[in-house]
């Protein structure tokens, strides 16, 4: 009993002692920055950035702190709340950027933003109240991956950048039929089970579509098309995809589908899976995502697509002496040098024009002009427009997504229900 009392008081002592003492000791000499990253063993982009920065700034070391890829934000929120987060941390998507920005967990980096080149995409999403709170280092965008070998086997003409969603639907069905005739079990296309597969395009491509309006009618045509593809058997049904935990990497990589709308992050994965043998070896390419109307199709126009940028922000608890070093790291991450280094490992940097020559020389990457056009030319809208309401609205729309695609609810009823929920549970707050 005595011993446990002693232990208890020791604990309480430790509690009060650590509550007063901080670690604001000013360091002298070489500066060490800490940087958050996830799955470091398999995600080389953080080390690439750290090494590249070190080469240009030999007096500043960058130490990586590992986080879990799937639960990054949960871990980061806990670390920030306890004051244990690293100096620089990643804004994985815009949904959580709002949480950090609104919770005053980001340092104003407007001065860094002011000096950036014009080719850096995604910057505007990080601007709130006239100030910039994070700097993008990668800006993926959704494109259409297609399997050239399967197209040839079916005898269907490759995509040429002129497709609307109707054209895409027709080709998906045609591919399915012709591949079957050719004795191949592959389906025309694979749209993954995520809500963004339908909703991201709908929000980005529909003129006047706005989540916060609480009017979700703009989703209807996109869901009707997705349901039609399922009904025609040109795509695995949503139910089978979820109950069998299908992965998009296997669906496209093992040639179970001839096309797949997906983000450009898949380029690096596909290249490495083909090299390792996890994916079959076949020729593939990327084409612009199908468009809502003819007006944005063709290589003389700029196709509209979507994706959130990935950015870096600075923890406001960083010690005064390291702020400048942290800012120069952010500036480096968005620079042309970093863009080339990232492209060298297959990552789509925020500045795609600078990177295009590097990424398409990687072994196994496509070399056609349409792929290059797709990579560099796009009007990429944010998947999660930054607002207080975005996260709860996306949760409402996720329920709509699963209800409609599983066939549990007709699209009109689901939209009405989602609008009611948005009005009563989200927008009224």
């Amino acid at each position: 009993m005595k011993r446990s009392l002693a232990a208890l008081s020791a604990l309480l002592l430790a509690l009060s002692a650590s509550a007063c003492g901080g670690d604001d000791a000013e360091e002298s000499g070489p500066v060490t920055l800490t940087l958050a990253g996830w799955s470091l063993a398999t995600t080389p982009e953080f080390k690439t950035l750290a090494d590249g920065f070190r080469a240009a700034h030999p007096d500043i070391a960058v130490e990586l702190k590992e986080y879990d890829a799937a639960n990054y934000d949960t871990q980061m929120i806990a670390d920030l709340a306890a004051g244990k987060a690293p100096d620089i941390y990643v804004q994985k998507n815009l949904k959580n950027f709002y949480t950090y920005q609104n919770g005053k967990q980001l340092l104003d980096v407007s001065d860094v933003a002011g000096k950036l080149g014009s080719g850096v995409g995604g910057l505007s999403s990080y601007q709130v109240d006239g100030k910039t709170w994070a700097i993008p280092y990668r800006q993926d965008s959704w494109v259409l991956f297609y399997n050239k070998a399967l197209f040839d086997k079916a005898g269907v003409k490759h995509p040429d950048g002129s497709w609307t969603w109707d054209d895409y639907g027709t080709v998906a069905k045609e591919l399915t039929t012709k591949l079957k005739a050719a004795g191949d079990k592959a389906l025309g296309t694979y749209q993954h089970t995520w809500q963004s597969t339908s909703q991201g395009f709908a929000l980005g491509q529909t003129a006047g579509a706005d989540l916060q309006s609480g009017d979700f009618g703009f989703l209807k045509p996109y869901y009707e098309k997705a349901l039609a593809l399922q009904a025609a058997g040109a795509q695995v049904s949503f139910g089978d995809a979820t109950t069998n935990s299908l992965t998009y990497q296997a669906q496209f990589g093992k040639q179970s589908a001839a096309m797949m709308p997906m983000g450009t992050w898949y380029i690096a994965t596909l290249l490495s899976q083909q090299a390792k043998g996890d994916a079959d070896t076949f020729e593939w390419g990327i084409a612009p995502a199908p468009q809502a109307t003819k007006s944005t199709t063709g290589t003389s126009a700029t196709p509209v697509t979507f994706a959130d940028p990935t950015g870096l922000g600075i923890n406001p608890k960083i010690s005064e002496s390291r702020i400048e070093a942290a800012k120069s790291f952010l500036a480096y991450a968005a620079s042309a040098d970093a863009a080339k280094a990232l492209a060298g490992i297959g990552v789509t940097p925020a500045d795609t024009a600078t990177a295009v020559d590097t990424i398409f020389t990687l072994k196994g990457a496509p070399t056609d002009d349409l792929s290059k056009f797709t990579f560099t030319t796009h009007d990429t809208k944010p998947e999660n427009p930054v607002s207080k309401y975005t996260a709860p609205l996306q949760n409402v729309l996720k329920d709509l997504h699963t209800a409609v695609l599983s066939g549990s609810k007709p699209i009109d009823a689901a939209i009405t229900e989602a609008q009611d929920r948005a009005k009563n549970e989200v927008l009224s707050k």
Binding site: I77, S406, G407, E425
Partner: protein, 301 residues
Amino acid sequence: MTTIADTRRRRGRVVARNTAVGWSFLLPNFAGFVILTMVPVALLFYYAFTEWDVFGGATWTGLENFRQLARDASFWTALRNTLYYAAFHIPLTLGVSLGLALLLNRRLRGVAFFRTVAFFPYITSIVAIAQIWNMLFSPGFGPVNEVLRWIGVDDPPGWTTSADASMPAVIVVGTWRYMGYYMLLFLAGLQTIPAQLYEAALVDGAGAWQRFRAVTLPGLRHTTFFITVLLTIESFKVLDLILVMTDGGPGQSTLVLSQYIFQKGFEENQFGYASAVSVVLFAICFVVTVVQFVVNKRRSA
């Protein structure tokens, strides 16, 4: 006269001594428990009355969170689903695990193997569990529906992909997963029943069912109380199974309170509101537990 005062004093001393002894038993556990659980839980109760973004200070908003809850249709859906799950999961699991325990409480050849098998679902990776059951339930290719069609059901349910059948599917898997866990506790409880009671019952000519009613059930009273309370709490807090099997869908058909708390807190950054939902969840569990506790006390008195 002195004797009364004496007894009173003596009783006072006994109470003081007992209190000291009692606390000395509790302390090793209690010390850790207070610091690591009680204090954060107490904080949670405070946050339930605030607007809190988890990073900075919380703003006191009084009963506002609870007023909002009353109007929040999603909260009511989650509550209804949780009650639905609990209403079936508790009796089903109780029955199955008791049955298993009775069946496997023997020294037969191979019984050790079957006991291990029954415990297996509890230790197998939850990803594998979700995967297999979802596959078994798969509307197009799943064996479950194949069997149903074979026995003449024309339009078998879509299970985890249909709003009506997803909860029953989750309940089945929940029972399957936890039956071994509670079987183990029942097995431990069965060992406390003196064999003489069975012998006496046999001598009296009691049949198997009568022995079960007259000897086994009363002998298991403490264990059953414990298991019922645990099962209640576990059912009301169900989360990981839902996340891997249906993620609350399709639509909101399997959204439960625990998941709603996580959504409101970590996904939507409304930690004060999430705390309020937790307090409601706690209150429900607590009331149910206290009722069970009181009933149990009265019965043993």
